[in-house]
Amino acid sequence: MALQAITANRLIDGAVVYLSAEGAWVPSIASAALAESEDDAAGLTAAGERAIAERAVIAPYLIEIERGPDGIRPKRHREQLRALGPSVSFGRPAAV
């Protein structure tokens, strides 16, 4: 089975978060708990359900993870953008 992590958007501000090994929902994917088996993945899903009930996050789901030279990253392009934020430098102040 491919490595998996669980991600969601935080209820209060919509921020992208991942469930960490310590059981907290954190913005950094580097701290994400990784599931290597179906059982692990089921554990993450159950934690996601609890987080919905506790009003911590919205709509958690599992994503596939790969290991690269700079640590772990999501396999899918869309999830890579979610993990890193927009690929463009927004809110550039005017050159005044």
Binding site: L11, I12, G14, A15, K75, V88, P93, A94
Partner: protein, 551 residues
């Protein structure tokens, strides 16, 4: 500008308090996300890839300087210091928190703004010619009728749960700057011996199934606008499909029954409506019309000699005047478009600092009023010729004077996969790369009018179907590819672009655009033949040949 009366004010303030209660109940757990989602969407609050996104309605693209300062303040206080102007003449904040949103809406209500009906299957913000009230040859200010439609459609109980969203646009000149033919309803104000009326077009739209609106009534007396709109909406509400999201727009219904039959159904419905109970009394139309009376223009010469001297003496100023100003109906005045397309920048983004500065410039030079264009720029539409040089000099350090309006780097791009949860591919970085590749101003001028429009998915928020060059981002096995269409147009000669061939990889898409432009330059009959005219004369073959032969 229109000013809220006590009904408008009460309506919007009550909605803010309702939403405040709904947010509290969501945060306390009384409401699940499933229950809350339709409530937040009714108030313009989406959940995107990285955060919530709040879409604020800018009715028919008109803002006062006070409203723009409030948007700047909200961006600074509750967001990340910028906002994004969209192809629907709206403004989107990309990073508001759920907890702050009721306060944001309360601040908006203070300046007569809201986010009502910026989402959901209802009548959305009515859009207009962004040069309304200033354009030469105008029948009358189309915003009078936009405001009438706005009041009628706000919380209209019958039309709050349509089969799908519904977009109406209004113009009042022969030039179509509002893309009427790609709206659910396009209304063109005209005047003949019967008085003022509308050409009524129905069933246009982009998205998965692009279609141009068909004229179902060449002339509708303006006084009957609301009852006739009600007949169209009711016909659609009854017969439009609700079983398939992709077949629910009115364009599908008009196509299925045929425009003539659809027109007959509308007329039949219209005859049954007690028109005098729906159409506004003349006194109310007069009351609303008065809000759009023209500003106190000065009587000045048609051509200001000092302006003419400066224009002749400064090549950069002359270039900006040529591309970024347009003829005004009032002698000695000009319409100025502020480019939100700095080369390499993000189309439609404006920082709080820019918004504050634009509000000040509007107060100084344009009666305190700002327009949002559907092409993601801003405009000051009532500027004296003699003030153009000073305005231009003020815009340069703000990075708002790129002389590219209507040219190849005035690119429309949707937020794409950098922000949007529906997108399949990124749009903004493609726009940035094309814009940097084409930034040479002499060359840009030599290419002439060219509209490049980019969408990150088939929903076509970036209007790619009506781009002279349209670019659609697609996902091919996890990689971004871009399909190119040619020959689209959103103006009075509206056309849906044709797909030129297989999609290009992200690496090749800028080359593809450059190749299309090279082919045009080599084949045009002369510098006066615009890209769109050349394409219509030549057809797609020379472009296909250049793009795909020998590769």
């Amino acid at each position: 500008m229109y000013r809220y009366d006590s009904y408008d004010r009460q309506l919007v303030q009550e909605r803010v308090e309702q939403f405040r209660g709904q947010v509290q109940r969501r945060l306390s757990g009384e409401l699940t996300e499933e229950e809350f989602k339709p409530l937040r969407l009714m108030n313009g609050l989406y959940l995107q890839l990285h955060a919530y996104m709040l879409r604020v309605a800018i009715p028919y693209g008109t803002l006062s300087s006070t409203q723009l300062r409030t948007l700047a303040h909200i961006a600074r206080r509750y967001d990340k210091g910028y906002g994004h102007f969209t192809t629907r003449q709206n403004l989107q904040f990309n990073w508001p928190s759920l907890a702050d949103t009721p306060d944001i809406l309360a601040e908006l209500a203070e300046v007569e703004m809201h986010a009502i009906q910026t989402s959901g299957n209802c009548i959305r913000n009515v859009t207009a010619d962004h040069f309304a009230g200033a354009a030469a040859g105008e029948v009358e200010d189309p915003r009078i009728w936009c405001e009438i439609i706005r009041q009628w459609s706000t919380f209209h109980p019958e039309f709050s749960f349509l089969p799908r969203k519904f977009k109406i646009a209004v113009t009042a000149t022969d030039r179509d700057r509002a893309a009427l033919r790609v709206h659910d309803i396009g209304l063109k104000l005209l005047r003949d011996h019967r008085g003022i009326g509308f050409e009524v077009m129905v069933g246009g739209g982009q998205g998965r199934t692009p279609a141009l609106a068909k004229t179902i009534r060449p002339y509708l007396s303006a006084e009957h606008l609301l009852s006739y709109l009600e007949a169209i909406l009711r016909t659609y509400n009854l017969l439009g499909r609700r079983d398939n999201l992709y077949k629910a727009r009115i364009k599908i219904l008009v196509d299925a029954v045929g425009p003539a039959e659809f027109a007959r159904l509308v007329e039949e419905e219209w005859r049954q409506i007690p028109q005098d109970r729906v159409d506004l009394p003349e006194a109310e139309i007069r009351r609303i019309r008065a809000f759009f009376a023209q500003p106190p223009f000065e009587t000045v010469p048609q051509l200001d000699p000092e302006f003419e001297l400066l224009r002749r003496g400064d090549r950069a100023f002359a270039r900006w005047v040529k591309s970024n100003t347009a003829a005004h109906k009032q002698p000695g005045y000009a319409i100025v478009t502020l480019s939100l397309k700095p080369h390499g920048g993000i189309p439609g983004d404006a920082t709080s600092e820019q918004m504050d500065a634009i509000a000040d410039l509007a107060d100084t030079y344009s009666f305190g009023e700002i327009r949002v264009t559907h092409e993601q720029n801003l405009a000051l539409v009532h500027v004296r010729q003699r003030d153009l040089f000073a305005l231009w000099q003020a815009l340069i350090p703000l990075d708002l004077a790129t002389p590219n309006i209507g040219l190849a780097t005035d690119i429309i791009a949707c937020p794409g996969l950098d922000y949007c949860s529906l997108a399949n591919a990124r749009s903004i970085p493609v726009a940035q790369r094309i814009s940097l590749a084409l930034q040479d101003l002499d060359r840009l001028g030599a290419i002439g009018e060219l509209k490049i429009k980019i969408s990150g998915c088939i929903n076509a928020c970036g209007h790619h179907h009506v781009g002279h060059i349209g670019i659609l981002g697609v996902d091919k096995k996890g990689e971004e590819f871009y399909q190119v269409t040619l020959g689209g147009s959103g103006d009075e000669t509206a056309a849906i672009g044709e797909i030129v061939g297989p999609a290009f990889s992200s690496d090749r898409v800028v080359w593809a655009v450059a190749t299309v432009i090279e082919t045009y330059l080599a084949r045009r009959s002369g510098p006066e033949e615009r890209f769109l005219d050349a394409y219509r004369r030549l057809g797609p073959d020379p472009f296909k040949e250049a793009l795909y032969a020998a590769h």
